[in-house]
């Protein structure tokens, strides 16, 4: 048997090599674990260990790169979301003000308010017109007053189909019949321009001398003239100049004309309606109930 194998190996060099390799592999397999570990560390040291290290490092680098890209996109998304949230927060604040403003109207003075958004402000240093995104199709007509929560803005000067132009209080042709809220002294508020046509402030004219007007008094619409209803806030008295026959009252307008975004067009008064009032009351109650902590009863239930 041995001689047969010897002859076979002598005749076939390749086969002999294979047999030697198989024998060596079998010996390696049957080595004690400690010896295997030593041989493995010797075999792995020159090639495999550095390669593995490089592979692990490369893998880590790839993972860091992909994580970096993922985090970058996450940061971008968060920045966008934050910007959106800030914008929504501002809008929420504005809407809250508007809601308070609407609710603040007296029961008998409930106006038919049409909300609109400012879409344009043609003009240079002087705001001569404000364009809004509602027009005749929404029931807007020239002459209708336009307000914001802070106070009066102006009136509709032109109503197109889906757009309207407001003549603001800063317009040279603007004149509002007003009264001092405290003393009920009446007058007309107009814009006052400087030499280079810049708007200086507003002035209340036709005020008799020695009228009871003080700095800080609130100026509201008087309702005279039929354009603006009575009681809309116009602004505050900032200075009082006494003259021999008349007084010149300087007024600061309450509404910031250059920063407005949403306005309300006063289309008229809403006739009293008990059904509508009841519905509003129900809606208000539901709204308040939603805001209140509703899970107390749930928590108590096992």
């Amino acid at each position: 048997m041995l001689s047969l194998l010897t002859r076979l190996l002598r005749g076939n060099r390749d086969f002999a090599t294979l047999v030697i390799c198989v024998v060596l592999a079998t010996v390696a397999l049957s080595l004690p674990p400690a010896a295997k570990t030593v041989v493995s560390s010797v075999m792995a040291a020159p090639i495999l260990r550095p390669v593995k290290r490089i592979a692990v490092a490369t893998d880590g680098l790839t993972r860091i790169r992909s994580e970096n890209a993922r985090l970058r996109s996450l940061v971008m998304r968060l920045i966008e979301e934050r910007a959106s949230l800030v914008s929504l927060g501002h809008e929420n604040d504005r809407l809250r003000e508007l809601t308070n403003f609407i609710v603040g109207f007296a029961e008998e003075e409930r106006f038919d308010l049409l909300p609109a958004t400012v879409v344009g402000m043609p003009g240079g240093r002087i705001i001569e017109a404000i364009e809004i995104d509602a027009g005749a199709a929404s029931g807007i007509e020239p002459g209708m007053p336009v307000i914001v929560p802070d106070g009066l803005i102006g009136k509709i000067s032109r109503a197109l189909e889906t757009r309207s132009l407001i003549e603001p209080l800063s317009s040279a042709s603007s004149a509002v019949a007003v009264t001092i809220e405290r003393s009920r002294v009446r007058g007309i508020v107009r814009p006052r321009y400087g030499g280079s046509a810049e708007l200086l402030d507003w002035q209340m004219d036709y005020v008799p001398a020695r009228s009871d007007i003080r700095t800080g008094d609130r100026v509201i619409t008087s309702g005279l003239g039929g354009v603006y209803p009575a009681g809309l806030i116009v602004g505050d008295v900032t200075a009082v100049d006494e003259g021999p026959l008349t007084m010149t009252i300087h007024v600061s307008i309450a509404a910031g004309l250059s920063t407005i975004e949403q306005v309300f067009v006063l289309r008229g008064l809403v006739p009293p309606s008990p059904e509508r009032d009841a519905m509003m009351q129900t809606l208000l109650k539901e709204f308040l109930a939603e805001d209140a902590p509703s899970d107390v009863s749930d928590r108590e239930t096992p």
């Binding site: 090599t17 294979l18 198989v22 060596l24 592999a25 080595l31 075999m43 390669v51």
Partner: protein
């Protein structure tokens, strides 16, 4: 092919198996660069050197798993012998023959390895063979085809068998 070139190729295959193969796996199957080098390198260098290279490269691979030291050496040596001997007896430059030999070599290597590694667990053995070996073999054959095309373009006569016309 010189022995030095063959050794460099084997080392490169070891590096590729360790570093690149895990990155390019498809359906969990990886290409076997070592077997490719043993077969295509064996075409130019002969059965004897191919078997010895297979044994030592196998030992290198085994050093990662000391418990089974010698198992990959055994599998690769046998695989290199069978593949090189087969190619010696067949039209070794034919691409189809090369593909079949590569495919068979991968399955043979895995069969030897799994038989020893999962002895007594025929179900695991069968699952691994069917799930990974066959896909891995097909993947390796695809890379072998690329090598064959490159060999044709570069006019490597050891692989293509005839000068480029």
């Amino acid at each position: 092919m010189k022995i030095r070139t063959f050794v460099v190729l084997c080392t490169a295959a070891l590096i590729l198996d360790a570093a690149l193969a895990p990155e390019i796996e498809i359906l969990g199957a990886r290409p076997d660069f070592l077997v490719l080098v043993l077969i295509y390198g064996g075409l130019g260098i002969g059965v004897n050197v191919s078997v010895i290279a297979g044994f030592f490269m196998g030992l290198m691979v085994d050093s990662e798993l000391p418990e089974y030291l010698g198992l990959n050496a055994l599998a690769l040596a046998i695989t290199a012998f069978v593949a090189a001997s087969l190619l010696d007896r067949l039209v070794k430059s034919h691409v189809l023959v090369q593909c079949c030999v590569v495919f068979g070599a991968i399955v043979l290597r895995d069969t030897i390895f799994y038989t020893a590694y999962y002895r007594g667990s025929i179900d695991i053995f069968g699952h691994l063979l069917l799930r990974y070996s066959l896909v891995g073999a097909a993947y390796t054959v695809a890379i072998g085809l690329v090598i064959h095309v490159i060999a044709r373009l570069a006019n490597w006569r050891a692989i293509t068998g005839a000068p480029r016309r």
